[in-house]
Amino acid sequence: MTLLEIEHLTKVFDGVTALQDVTLEVRAGEILGVIGPNGAGKTTLFNCITGIFPPDRGTIRFRGEAIQGRRPHEIAHRGIARTFQIVRPFPTLSLTDNVLVAYGHRFYPRLGASTTASRTRASLEASHRLLDRVGMVSGHERQAGTLPLGLKKRLEIARALALNPSLLLLDEPSGGLRHEESQQLLELIRRLSQEGITVVLIEHNMPIVMGVCQRLVVLDHGVQIAEGDPAAIQRNPQVIEAYLGKGSTQSTGC
């Protein structure tokens, strides 16, 4: 079943074409990798999907409904959650509160519900459980800004999960992580996929990409140049030329 359908997506910034006529689909239950050299338009793709800005042309359909041009909170309510390339938890809020903010999505839209107390036993328990689920079992009352990078990234995932998403967009989740942390991340992604969440991953870290993605889409300068299973992509000469050939020798997560 197709969960997300993107057709002829085009986005131009001040004369620079970030996305050009991109057409791809995301199938329910899969782990899809979006790869490509820097500046290929991968994060722009995420930003269009999540409503940070509307595309100039093209459609984005989620479960058959056109969502392009909708605002971020509307997209979040439909079950699409994301993490950010440069991690951005709410710095002075605790870990629990960070997750609670996203958990509150059920209450924000209705005026009556939004006036009820936020820190109820149910909501706090749910937040603690979500933090446990991503492997953060203690220190939930710390300020998010004091966390090391690896934990901040996990917090962002816990926060995204609080939206109860059917589609999870992870933007370079392994960026800046040590090898061991990347492995733990791999495990987490696999677990989430087994639980039924469809995952789309932007990644530069090839071991992660090859290790967990079932299918890949390759972007270069805003254009989709290849699509297929990881093994086929690895052999694709166009991809090698655009990306793997020049980039694969660089360190994959120090």
């Binding site: 971020p72 950010f84 709410f90 605790s94 999505h105 519900a113």
Partner: protein, 298 residues
Amino acid sequence: MLSGYLVTVLITIGIYVILALSLNLITGYAGQISLGHAAFMGIGAYTSALLYTKAGFSFWPAFLVAGLVAGLVGAVLAIPCLRVREDFLAITTMGINFVVEATFLYVPFFGAGMGIGGINPPSLFGKEISKPGFLLLVGGVIVVVILLDRWLIRSWIGLAWAALREDEEAAGAMGIDVVRFKVLAFTLGSAIAGLAGSLYAHFLTFIMPVNFNFGQSIVILSMVVFGGLGTLRGPIMGAIVLGALPEISRPAMEYRTLLYGLLLLLLMRYQPDGILGERSLLARGWNALRGRAAPMKN
């Protein structure tokens, strides 16, 4: 028995406490900088004054309508404020202040430069209430505002505002309608400022445009920042200290604008959280005494 002078000072401080708390909703909780807050105090004051002097309203309905009108105008004026951030928002709110003041100054309906006079104090059961009675009224409004604040902070609205304050884009991605919550903050903050304006008008018995100018906005902002932006105790303390200061010290009164400006500068440099803010010297010292780590936002 409280002297008449003391009661007057307390009423003035009380009105500033309400103003500081109302600005704290917009700037402290929701994180939207507003340099024109006195405009809404003025809208409330003029609404109340006009309803009383020209439409024969008694104080009580005039007071409520003043809050309503100020809130409504706040909601409308929030719209140009929505798409601008930080520096530009500061300038936009400043502009709003100047436009509102100019409207009072140049439109004859509002009494122009002479303002409006003859705004009598409220009456209860046919008798004009005494000064101490007015103080009680102000105190009552303060209590209601504090209860409202506490309720908001503990609700999902308060959490949405906190997220909005920390990172607007991430907040949106987490399901928060950023526009709606910004407008809500501006509306509530402006409405409460309008109520304070009404109290001010019926206390002073005459009002002029200059009472609600940019300088007044800075006074209110100084109180909030001095005490501690975003906390409940901060703006209250700031209003008490900075409200009492000009009464205690004549030079402080005359050089008030200079003094408050300097104070803001020093605060930004050394204690940006305010005197009673979370990470301030006093708050940390207090928590150290009580043996625990830095507090979370309440």
